[in-house]
Symmetry: C2
Subunit: 127 residues, 2 copies
DNA sequence: GTCGCATATGAACAGATGAGCATATATAAT
DNA sequence: ATTATATATGCTCATCTGTTCATATGCGAC
């Protein structure tokens, strides 16, 4: 289904740029996984949970208590984090302890925080 | 509004862990910005646009043509990227060229890709 | 087995989000 | 001025998402 809207007559992108682009761009499937991963990071509740796990292994009820949210809400979010292989869990009696299962998260967050920091610096000097 | 649901009687999180957590956790406002940033990365269209910009400066119509999407859709997404200060633009006649305005993006993507790669490795060996 | 507590999960509902359409704006040419 | 082209934007709608509620499951104590 081609675009019915007229697209610009002149193309500015160079052949070698297109070549390079095709070389560096991951597969459609990988791009999808990448977006799914970042979607997981796109929610403050999940970010807060991950920050808790940066410090130590924590049980569900402690997360709920600390974030002042329902056990159900936390459990739902932990499932998403689990599906993305960002956290693991171990059972100890009735309690389930969650911990980090990835060492990229911290680095990703740090890079994100740096971006935000630089952006707010720019806001201050630009007015 | 306190949780009406009963939360676990015993707390497992230690005092010093809570102290450390409060020390390393960014402000509510920063956490919100961080989630907003990752939300922007949580869409394949925007990821694809950013990958194009990794290679070179590109105009709107070339993005639309390359991704086989409407000019309007691309423009909407570019606005979001602009708001997040991830891209900048310059006008040349009728054409508007967009380019990257941040050097953290590539690193964030690389870390994300590494996570995905390791995860798929695990899937293969775990069955 | 029953009871109580910790966690998981399905359904439902409100709010957010991405794309399409129509239209507005910007620039250049005439 | 008008016309044509490139981009931006407001509105709408279908889809997705996060939370709540109710309920199920898992485990230990009895």
């Amino acid at each position: 289904m081609a675009a019915t809207i007229e697209i610009c007559k002149d193309t500015f992108i160079h052949k070698d740029a297109v070549e390079k682009l095709k070389r560096i761009t991951p597969s459609e499937e990988t791009l999808y996984s990448l977006s799914e991963l970042f979607k997981v990071f796109g929610d403050t509740t999940r970010i807060k949970i991950l920050f808790m796990l940066f410090v130590s292994e924590v049980c569900v009820c402690d997360i709920a208590a600390f974030l002042n949210m329902s056990q159900s809400a936390i459990s739902h979010q932990l499932r998403i984090l689990k599906q993305m292989r960002l956290v693991r869990f171990r059972r100890q009696g009735k309690t389930v302890f969650y911990s980090l299962d990835d060492n990229h998260i911290k680095r990703i967050f740090d890079q994100g925080l740096e971006h935000i920091l630089e952006r707010s610096r720019g806001e201050r000097s630009n007015g």
